[in-house]
Symmetry: C2
Subunit: 465 residues, 2 copies
Amino acid sequence: MQSHSIKSLLNGQVDTGQTVEIKGWIRTTRDAKGFSFLVVHDGSCFDGIQVVADESLPNYSTEVIKLFTGCSVIVTGELTESGGKGQNLEIKADKVTVVGWVENPDSYPVQPKRHTMEFLREVAHLRPRTNTFSAMMRVRNTMAQAVHQYFNQRGYLWLHTPIITASDCEGAGDLFRVSNLDLLNLPKTDKGDIDFSEDFFGKETYLTVSGQLNAETYACALSKVYTFGPTFRAENSHTQRHLAEFWMIEPEVAFADLNDMAALAEDFLKYLVKQVLDNNADDMQFFNQFVDKGCVQRLETLLDDKFEQVNYADALKILEKANVKFEYPVKWGLDLQTEHERYLTEKHFKKPIVVKNYPEEIKPFYMRLNDDKKTVAAMDVLVPGVGEIMGGSQREERLEYLLNRMKAHNLDEAEYKWYTDLRRYGTVPHSGFGAGFERLISYVTGLSNVRDVIPFPRTPGNIKF
Amino acid sequence: MQSHSIKSLLNGQVDTGQTVEIKGWIRTTRDAKGFSFLVVHDGSCFDGIQVVADESLPNYSTEVIKLFTGCSVIVTGELTESGGKGQNLEIKADKVTVVGWVENPDSYPVQPKRHTMEFLREVAHLRPRTNTFSAMMRVRNTMAQAVHQYFNQRGYLWLHTPIITASDCEGAGDLFRVSNLDLLNLPKTDKGDIDFSEDFFGKETYLTVSGQLNAETYACALSKVYTFGPTFRAENSHTQRHLAEFWMIEPEVAFADLNDMAALAEDFLKYLVKQVLDNNADDMQFFNQFVDKGCVQRLETLLDDKFEQVNYADALKILEKANVKFEYPVKWGLDLQTEHERYLTEKHFKKPIVVKNYPEEIKPFYMRLNDDKKTVAAMDVLVPGVGEIMGGSQREERLEYLLNRMKAHNLDEAEYKWYTDLRRYGTVPHSGFGAGFERLISYVTGLSNVRDVIPFPRTPGNIKF
């Protein structure tokens, strides 16, 4: 007999009266006189389905009444309307096969009760068995599929940029080194430095912090590409918003300027949100009730809002006039801090905003210098409740300007020869942005710690699984 | 004016007689008396579109006749039926705007002529501007999207398993170390070993070779998952089939056995092939003509073939009877070599085959011991022209058997506590397979070197881009 997913049963894809088979894990059990109620879950949707098993089953007293949360079972029986509260359908079991028991039920880590998020991180291999993490995983999947659908439908090619790299892209922050040198017997140069010419790639290599520079080479040949892959930061950061390993989405578009990117980022974010609202109503109902009250309303509002656009210079004026004491100074040439960003999006505009045209000196070398010679064509997308959620720029497509900015950033021209070649051979205006996937999920679900929206989080000291 | 992709024009989505705008790069130019033919390409499909620019254009003599392969342009004009051979539609230009010139056209690396694959690897940042690599990239994209479509439509969740890991999964081969210790000042233990407790994660860490063990934890909670992410091998291998960094697809399914996996692998491969044949007819026509004559026929045959299944033991008998002198011995307990695999699939069965049930001693610890106690429930999928293209197994779901095999493989039980927990708490039969994405693309396109089916290949000594 072909098994059914519980989702297909609860969605009404099978008529009542039919005999069905399900396979899954016990979530809860309740015994009454002469029969037991078993809620069985298989991950296909938020709810499990209730199984009614009565004492006429041959293994009722030997097995069924001993079932416990976490046991795996195969159940066959008739799909029927349910008399119970809170569910419409249930299965009247003809047969309950116990596939796997739970060793020492009392010490099973995922008991049918509320656990702290901190505890569940300690049992990351078992936390997908909880409501919160199975719902997170389905929402994460919907969003990940939506990323591909969005770009694929619009003619973008998914580009796999390299994970191991010899360049550090932005000159940004701490890098993980990748090597297979023998640490107890390191080759040295005459000067006493490490001789990376003997390493696997013949150079010092790192884990990528961004696929952007590589993506530009393909955008400047095939017009529209995007990356969706893992990126890394070796920052010793212990905040709710930072992971050492996270997934990033980076579209890169030829013949596109900063305004095109602002429009793309807005449309993209709304598409992802709409997909979740349309496909994960049950999971979002759970987040709305138990994790982030009002998150569904917040997302519905986002879909209706037209994002506001504001120049960095004008944002400074708003902040200077604000009747708020900020911890960090508000001054031309300083980057906006989270407190500033949240004031702008939450208090002043009360909607998502795009801040554009930042001072040149606080932004990476590849961003395009504006005609004022003071600012670059950079943008940050800020949303209420989170702050910055995406960031992008128009890239400097003019060779002489790019070389000047590289010099100012002390970058080795020879190392970036391939990158500057794009400006030598049929250069085009082009632009892109980056979106941290976990921050997007955090925004959508209201799970405020990014450790809880990725299956196996990597942070300083955490590598257990 | 909204621009059009060249694909949308050549597909007939715009009526002739309309004024259209295109943006792209010059592929070839040809001058006649009083006008020029420019073929413009934008990556949206295999062909470029021919632009007819005549001397009445104000910048004809100053710019248009100086255009060269690689220059970027914006063209507006009327879409018309073409009188020329080999194309149906062309654009009669009203305006040709040169966006970017090519510096020193004579030394532009991607001249309009045939280049060797070896040369193009040296200019990996420019090779997407060639027919071969833009076609490869579109086929790669179709296959990557098809992976997600296939699993998403069937209720699988895309799982992002960690890239940085403390376990080496299979005890398999050479690992890249990930670290941010200061190599010139390494912390040591009392015994003189490296003190990894001071490293970022507090342990020695590596780049993953497989997401399987992590994927099992989610399959044993949510039933059906798959990974699609980068994996790594620090093997000093210089063959056409090996990359240090490549993308792998790994479905993992609860309540599934080895036969389910053989069926899934067959169905999955056929789905990918069908998507390419349906969506990339132009690109495949190019590969069929210039790269791998007959590859389209080969793929169409694959769709019709029912994969043959054969036990390892029976495969040995076939090889022993074969009237062929093999380089490597054919003997129980030895793994099949490429020459054996290719004999089986190409000469004997003449179709794709699944070899199953290999001797326990040549397979990793997590594979399920068969009732004969000699073999494990492993499979390899072999296809003509390539040999092994996918490999999988049923996982050992019985705790005592798993612990025995771990002991035999000298694995530290404590390190794998989380993995064995899956067998303590509601264990289920479960199975999965792994497919190297680049080998799949290599198979489909006939591009025999996997360095040519990934944008920026990583092999020993190669890290330039």
